[in-house]
């Protein structure tokens, strides 16, 4: 265990330390921006990012991944904060943590396999669009100074890394913030700064229990929010974990990650922070900066808190335009631009799933609903496609007194209509033979359809004989995990 710990914490000291600092610098503007989205003081997001970063370093299941206050979560809290206030948000955060731990023990991460690639892409794109849209209030009804500053900020963010040597050793978002803050202070222009948006942390966080009545009424208020937060938090965390898995070509423990996210959220709620989850953009930045182990997340959290607490006066002077520039960068970096190119290549049904996920999410500002619609559509697409794999042919026998139907393929709720439509009940024959030995009946709908077919033939005075029904209906049985046994698969799916 000691060796394992050494490996998962300290085997990449230099890379993790540097990347942790880079991530901390990038986390500050994000945490402030997401607090503003949620409608709470910047300190709520900053404490949350600190707590989640530090706790997840110990409890998480995916090393090298960065978690904190996120836009996806912030969007879900808006109405709760507006209608009931911060204290209820803290309760919702605690409850979210409990639910996520529960989800970890129930191994709900297994459900992620039903979330298709297109839904993931839709999720990511919707998230990027929502983050971008959340910046618009800062860009409407303002003087030209704000536009100039934002444009300059973007110029620095994308231009600075092109400089030789220093471009790759100093984080460009930091340069952007420092330069814009200096310009703002020197010119004294009249634009909004972070200090105008609410309170910043002035001390190290303290332990506090939310000041709300602990009764059923409170529970009923926060539960729907907590459920949404749980789902979205775990979804984004699982997706991010997969991205980090791919980038580093290593494995993660998804169930441990669920529990870890829960513990981190409870910790966040107890020091006055909002609920959060894994952050796609930050995790990519961490990997890019050389972070791989748990230490990177711990350092990011600690550095974030130190900088914010000790430099609070300076942080409050950062112009909002600088934050907007950083957030536009995050949204551009999060968006999957290749998915637009892929629209032409991918089948229409897949595109529909992606686009629907984006539209529903952007329309409802709720990633959970968007993903739900996406998964539903993808499932229907799949059912539709598999339902097409059904062939029913027939031939005459015994000089026209008998007809033999041969059924090949998948019969289930989506294809049972097609199945029953393929029989000719008007034909007068003495006997009908239905050969089902190469068909698969997947559900009760298909069995009932078969029953109806048999009854209909009988009512026409036709005798029905069925071949291979037992093999065909073997697939109805709920538990048949045979995918690791080629012979069993062949027996079940092959020609029997």
């Amino acid at each position: 265990m000691y060796e394992k710990m050494k490996l998962s914490w300290f085997s990449n000291l230099k890379g993790d330390t540097l990347s942790g600092i880079v991530v901390a610098l990038a986390l500050i503007p994000e945490a402030i921006a997401f607090s503003i989205i949620a409608g709470v003081d910047p300190k709520v997001g900053l404490y949350a990012s600190f707590a989640i970063c530090v706790i997840i370093a110990f409890t998480g299941g995916r090393s090298g991944m960065i978690s904190g206050a996120t836009g996806a979560m912030a969007l879900l809290m808006v109405t709760l904060v507006r209608d009931h206030g911060l204290e209820y948000l803290l309760v919702a955060t605690l409850l979210t943590g409990v639910l996520q731990i529960l989800a970890g023990y129930l191994r709900l991460a297994e459900l992620m396999r039903f979330v298709s690639r297109s839904v993931v892409t839709g999720f990511v794109n919707a998230l990027a669009i929502l983050i971008f849209m959340a910046q618009l209030p800062e860009l409407t009804g303002v003087t030209w100074h704000v536009y100039a500053m934002t444009a300059a900020g973007l110029g620095i963010i994308y231009g600075f890394p092109l400089l030789p040597k220093i471009g790759k050793s100093i984080p460009s978002p930091l340069v952007c913030i420092v330069v814009l803050t200096s310009v703002y202070l020197l010119t004294g222009m009249e634009i909004r700064s972070v200090g105008d948006m609410g309170e910043l942390p002035d001390s190290l966080p303290v332990f506090l229990w939310p000041d709300v009545p602990l009764n059923l009424e409170t529970l009923m208020i926060v539960l729907p929010y907590s459920l949404m937060l749980t789902v979205v938090g775990l979804l984004e965390s699982m997706m991010t974990a997969t991205i980090v898995d791919d980038l580093t070509d290593t494995k993660s423990d998804k169930h441990r990650e669920c529990k870890g996210q829960g513990i981190a959220n409870i910790g966040s709620g107890l020091i006055g922070g909002m609920a959060g989850c894994a952050m796609i953009g930050q995790s990519v930045i961490n990997i890019k900066s050389g972070g791989r182990r748990r230490l990177s997340s711990l350092i990011a959290g600690v550095v974030l808190l130190m900088m914010v607490v000790f430099l609070a006066d300076w942080v409050s002077m950062i112009p909002m335009a600088a934050l907007v520039a950083v957030m536009i960068m995050v949204s551009i970096g999060t968006f999957s631009w290749s998915s637009i190119k892929d629209l032409k290549k991918h089948p229409m049904s897949t595109n529909m799933v992606m686009v629907a996920t984006v539209i529903v999410t952007v329309g409802t500002h709720n990633l959970a609903i968007g993903v739900f619609v996406g998964v539903l559509l993808a499932a229907m697409n799949f059912a539709n496609k598999v339902g097409n794999i059904l062939y029913i042919g027939s031939e005459e026998a015994d000089e026209g007194s008998r007809r033999i139907y041969k059924v090949v393929g998948q019969v289930f709720f989506a294809s049972s209509e097609h199945f029953s439509g393929a029989f000719d009940f008007k034909e007068t024959v003495q006997k009908v033979t239905i050969d089902l030995s190469r068909a698969h009946f997947w559900d009760i709908t298909s069995v009932q359809t078969l029953d109806r077919v048999v009854i209909k033939f009988r009512r026409e005075g036709t005798e029905v004989e069925m071949i291979g029904l037992n093999e065909a209906s073997a697939t109805i049985v709920d538990r048949f995990a045979v995918h690791d046994d080629p012979e069993a698969v062949e027996k079940l799916m092959g020609g029997h």
Binding site: M1, Y2, E3, L7, N12, G15, L18, S19, V22, V23, L25, A26, I157, Y158, F160, P161, G167, K168, S169, I170, P171, S172, P173, L174, I243, D246, L247, T248, D249, T250, I280, G281, V284, I285, I287, K288, S289, G290, R292, M329, V330, I332, G333, T334, F335, S336, W337, S338
Partner: protein, 284 residues
């Protein structure tokens, strides 16, 4: 697959000794010999980009960059590994092994050995890998983890290897070492090699009867056996005994104590491995 002698090699200077030791063990045990080289292609990158920004398509581009880096490294490592395995194979054939096999796997050393341990009768491994060749007194970062993880006997080779002529067994009457005595008595590995059984501790009746049991077991199996009870600190005493008697291999149980104790006072096994100048056979 039959159980075989596996020898983990890499580019370090310890690999030659590992080759010879593995060839000796394979011949003595009559077990097939396989050389193993493990490529760990996912070490953290040396170059870092601390620009901290996200461009359009940042994820895809990063994935591409990282895979390209890994790919290049992996190709070189694969080729080097093949050459090393070839060299090891030739050396083993010179040493008299008929058909040594070779195997290359991707992953970390410890994980790979863990996966392969069911096919393993004995693992031969160097004191340090190529990453830590010049660390003087230190153990390689992998060795201790390997020893703790595997449930197979491990022969650790500190440097060049020569066929042992006098072997010492560190004996404390514990279950592991009693089993060790029985294993040694039965094993063809030490046929014809005199065995010294040493108990580090006080000259008590209990220790004496333990020692007598060990010597009897060995002698009954046809070994030439001697025994001694020495008081003192384990590592220093055994080292003293080794020098005094011209011992050229040490057999001992590995990590008999709890991890908590290890964290607080350190482990005799680690200490022995670190200071070793002759091969050590660790019994699990």
């Amino acid at each position: 697959m039959t159980e075989q002698v596996m020898a983990a090699i890499d580019g370090s200077r310890f690999s030659e000794g590992v080759c010879d030791a593995a060839a000796w063990a394979s011949l003595a045990l009559g077990a097939p010999l396989t050389f193993l080289h493990v490529n760990d292609n996912h070490a953290a990158p040396e170059e870092r980009n601390l620009s901290g920004n996200l461009r359009a398509g940042a994820r895809e581009r990063l994935l591409e960059e990282l895979s390209l880096l890994d790919e290049q490294r992996a190709k070189v490592a694969q080729e080097q590994g093949r050459l090393m395995l070839q060299a090891a194979k030739e050396r083993a054939i010179e040493d008299g092994v008929a058909e040594p096999g070779t195997r290359q796997r991707n992953g970390t050393l410890v994980e790979t050995l863990e996966e392969l341990q069911n096919d393993m009768r004995l693992l031969v491994i160097g004191k340090r890998g190529e990453g830590a060749e010049h660390d003087g007194d230190h153990l390689g970062s992998n060795l201790e983890r390997v020893v703790r993880t595997l449930h197979r006997p491990i022969l650790m080779v500190p440097d060049a290897f020569k066929t042992p002529e006098r072997v010492v067994l560190a004996f404390d009457g514990s279950k592991t070492t009693r089993k060790g005595v029985e294993m040694m008595a039965k094993s063809p590995l030490f046929a014809g090699i005199p065995v010294h059984v040493v108990i580090v501790g006080a000259e008590t009746g209990d220790n004496r009867s333990q020692l007598d049991w060990a010597l009897k077991t060995l002698r009954d199996a046809g070994h030439e056996a001697e025994g001694a009870i020495r008081a003192g600190e384990v590592e220093a005493t055994l080292r003293g005994y080794k020098e005094e008697q011209g011992i050229d291999m040490l057999v001992m149980g590995a990590y008999g104590h709890s991890r908590i104790r290890h964290l607080l006072v350190g482990s005799t096994t680690t200490e022995m491995l670190r200071r070793a100048s002759v091969p050590i056979l660790l019994l699990r």
